[in-house]
Amino acid sequence: MTARLRFPQVAVLVAFGLAIVSAVDCLSRATLNPPPALYWLGVGLIVAPVVVRMLGGDLSLGERLALVVTFGLALYTVKLMRDPFAFTLADEFPHAYNAQQALIHHHLYTPNSFLPVTADFPGLAGATSALAQMTGMSFFGAGTLLLAAARVTFMLGLFTLLLAAGGSPKAAGLGTLVYAADSNFLLWQAQYAYESLALPLFVVVLACAAERLRCPPGQRRSWAIPLALMIAALVPTHHMTSYATIVLLLLLSITRLPRLKLLNDGSTLPFAALALLLAAVWLVSVASITVGYITPVVGQAIHSVYQTITREAPPRALFSGASNQSGPGNTLYEQALGGLSVLLSVTAVCVSLMRAWSEAGRRDVVKILLIAASVLYIPVMGLRFVPAAWETSVRLTDFLSIGVAFVVGWFPLEAFARLTRPWFARSTAVLAVVLMVVGGAVNGWSPASRIAKPTRILAAGRALDSPSFAVANWISRLPRGRVVAPEADAEPILLFGGKPVAAGATLAADQVLQMNALPTWALPLWRRGHVRYVVVDRRTDATSETDGFYFGTDAAGGYLEPRLPQGVASKFGRAHLSRVYTSGNISVYVLSGRP
C-alpha cells in the first residue's frame, strides 16, 4: 500500500480532499444544507493518504518533512475555505481590528474596546502590518499569509521536537500528524489570533531546547541566540503562551528525578529566568490588564471544579460546544467519533506509559516532560465535564497534546508500522489516526461553526451582506460615539463600523439588551460610559460571537432563527429614544446627541 502511494500521489489525494471540503462549504454558503458526512469525507481524504505514506519505512527525511508541511497547510486551507472573504471566527474580529489600526495609524497599541488585552500584545498586529504595508494587501490577505508561514513553522518545529525526543523520523512524522487530533487544531489554531502565531514559536523554542541539550556542553553557546530571540518575541505576542514557555523552561531545568532515571544538567535555567524577567517587565510596564483578564477565567474554572465535584452544580453536557454557540448539535455518529478520538488518545497514552516505564537506560528531560504532558492530558480532558473549566481545558490541551503526539507516535503507531505483513494492522493504524483527527475536530466546534455559512450572498447579480455586516457598514457613516451591542453585531461594528463598542458583560450590555423592560439604572449607566448608540438584535444567536453574524435561513435551509420577544427592542422606544435604523431584527437607537 505504502510502496504504491508516493508523495505526488499523496498530494493529489489531499487536493481532492480539499476540493470536497470546498464543495461542502460552497453548498453550505448557498444554504443548500450539505450532509456533514461529506465534510468529514474530505477531511479524511486529507489525513489518510499522508498517514499511509508516513507509515512507510523507506522515506527520506525530506519527504517526511514535505508530508507534515503538506498536511499542516492542507488543514489550514480547510479553515481558509470556511472564511474566504473575511476573518469571522471567534476572536478574529478584535485581532483584525488591531491589525487594521496598525495599518491606519502606523503605530501599535491602539485601544481595543471589544477585547482590550489584545492591544497590549501587538506581535500579531505588528507582523501583519509588515506584510500588508510591503505588499499593499489588506490585513486579511496579509494575516492569511502570515498564519500560513506560522503553520509551516509549527509543523517543522513539532517534527523536530519529536525527532529530538524520540530519535525516530517515522515516529516524529506520525506524532506530528497525531497532533491534529487536538480539538483546536483544525479551526482555533488556524484563526487570526495571537495564539496562532505564538504556539509555533513555543514549539520551536521547545525543539531548540531539545536539540541544544543533545549538544556537548561546550558547544551550546550558539543556541542561546535563537532561544533568547524567540523568547523575546513570544512575550509581546501572547500572554498564556509566554507563561507556558516559562513553566516549560523551568521544568526542563530539573536535574534530579532518580525514580524516572532522569538525565539532565539544568542548563536551560538561564532561559527560564530570561523568559520570566521579560514577561514580568511586559506585564508591569505594558500589559497590566492581563491580570484582570486571566484571573476571573481561572478563578471561575477552579470554583466550578469544586462545585462539580461536590455536586453543587451539574456537570457540563458533552458536545454542547461553547455556551454561546448555537444551531443544531452533532449527530450521533459525530458524537461517537468525538468520543472514540479521546478514547484512542487515552488508550495510546496508557499503553505508552507502560512501555516507557519498562524502558531501560536513562531518559533525557525532554522525553520525560513530553510523557508527563501526555499523562496530564487525561485529567485535563476530564475538565470538559465542568461548565466553567471547559474553555481552560481546551486551551491547556493545545500544549498537552504535544505530549500525546509524542507518545502516540513514539510507541503505538510505530509498533503498528513495524508489522509489515498483516496489512490490516497498518490499515488499523491509518484508521486510528483518521478517527483521532476527525473526532478531535468534532470535539472542538459545533456543526454550525465548523462549516462555512453565508455572510455575503449573490442576488440578481449583486452582493448582499448579512444583517450584522450591513448594520456595521451603516454605522460607519455615523458621527463618532460608543456603541452598545450584542456580541455578534459588536464585532463587525468594531471592525467595519470603526466605532468603539461595549458588549457582553461590559456595561451590562447583554443583560440589558435581552430584557423586556428597561431597568431604571441602564440608561444612566450607559450615559456615564459615554455610550451614544444602542444596537438591539432580536435574534437569540446575536449573543454568539461565533454564529451570530450570518444570514438566517428558512426551514428548507436549516433551522428557523429563534427570536427574542418584541419587548427587547420596543423598550427603547418607550424610553423615547430615536430609532434611526432597522433591518427587521436589528435596530439602532440614539442614546445621546444628534445622530
Binding site: R6, P8, L32, A149, A164, P200, L201, Q219, R579, R594
Partner: protein, 253 residues
C-alpha cells in the same frame, strides 16, 4: 556553491526584494518580493550567522534549520514592529523594507566573517533530486486542484434559502436644509416594491419606490421645527402591516 557565495547571493536577493518593494506599485509583484524578504531571508541569514562555526554535533538538524529559518523570520517581524513603533514614522512600507534588508545583510555579513575558520556546511534547503516528469506533473495537478478548491470557495453564490431583509434608516439631512434623509436598501432576494409613509408635524408624505436586490434609494424630506417625532413607516406591496419603522425626535434635527 561556496558558502561565501550563498551569503553574497542572499544579500543581493534581499536588496533586490527591498528595491522592488520601494519602487514597484503593483501588489502581485511586491507580493513576490515580500515573501522571501519577510518570511525567509532574515531567518536564513541569522541561522547561517549563528551556526557558522562548530562541528556537526553543535549544528542543528536539517528540520531544525528549516524551522529556525521561518521562526527567526517571524521573530524579526514581531520584534521589528516593536522597534519601528518607537520611531517617529512608525510602521511604514519603506521603513519595514529597510529594516528587513538591514537585518538580513548584517546577518549574512556576520556569517561571512565567522565562516572564515569554519568548515563548509550542508545546504539548509532539501535538494530537489529524483524529481521525475511524471511526479512533477502530479504535484502540479495537486497544486491546480488545491488552488482551484480555494478559489472555488471564494465564489459568491446565490442562497435561495437565505432570509432576505430590508434596511430602512433616517438621519438628519446633510447641508443647510433642515430635514431628514430617509434611506431604503433592498437586501431581499428579488425585486421588491415599497411604500413609505413619512409623518411629521401633522403632515403626511408618501414615497413609492421599486428596488432590485442590493440597490438603495435615498430621499431628503424638509422638516419644520415642531414637537414630537418624524416617523417613516415602510410597507411592502400587497402587505397591509407595516414592515419597518424608524423615527427621530424633531428637536434633534
Amino acid at each position: 556553491m561556496s558558502t561565501r557565495r550563498i551569503d553574497i547571493l542572499g544579500s543581493a536577493l534581499a536588496l533586490t526584494c527591498a528595491c522592488t518593494i520601494w519602487l514597484v506599485p503593483w501588489v502581485p509583484v511586491r507580493f513576490v518580493a515580500v515573501v522571501p524578504l519577510a518570511l525567509v531571508l532574515p531567518g536564513h541569514a541569522m541561522v547561517r550567522a549563528i551556526f557558522a562555526q562548530g562541528n556537526g554535533e553543535s549544528q542543528p538538524t536539517r528540520s531544525m534549520q528549516l524551522a529556525l529559518v521561518l521562526a527567526l523570520s517571524l521573530v524579526t517581524l514581531i520584534l521589528g514592529s516593536l522597534l519601528l513603533d518607537l520611531m517617529p514614522g512608525g510602521l511604514q512600507r519603506f521603513s519595514w523594507a529597510a529594516l528587513l534588508v538591514a537585518v538580513t545583510i548584517i546577518a549574512y555579513g556576520f556569517s561571512v566573517r565567522r565562516r572564515r575558520l569554519a568548515a563548509p556546511d550542508a545546504s539548509v534547503l532539501p535538494r530537489l533530486t529524483d524529481l521525475r516528469i511524471g511526479s512533477a506533473l502530479l504535484m502540479l495537478l495537486a497544486l491546480v486542484i488545491a488552488v482551484g478548491a480555494f478559489l472555488g470557495s471564494r465564489l459568491l453564490l446565490p442562497a435561495p434559502n437565505a432570509t432576505g431583509y430590508t434596511q430602512l434608516w433616517m438621519l438628519p439631512a446633510a447641508g443647510p436644509v433642515r430635514g431628514v434623509e430617509i434611506g431604503i436598501e433592498c437586501d431581499q432576494l428579488h425585486l421588491t416594491r415599497y411604500r413609505v409613509m413619512i409623518r411629521h408635524g401633522g403632515r403626511l408624505r408618501v414615497w413609492r419606490v421599486d428596488l432590485l436586490p442590493g440597490r438603495k434609494a435615498v430621499l431628503t424630506v424638509p422638516v419644520r421645527a415642531s414637537r414630537g417625532y418624524v416617523t417613516a413607516t415602510l410597507y411592502r406591496q400587497h402587505f397591509k402591516r407595516p414592515y419597518r419603522q424608524v423615527r427621530i425626535a424633531n428637536s434633534t434635527l
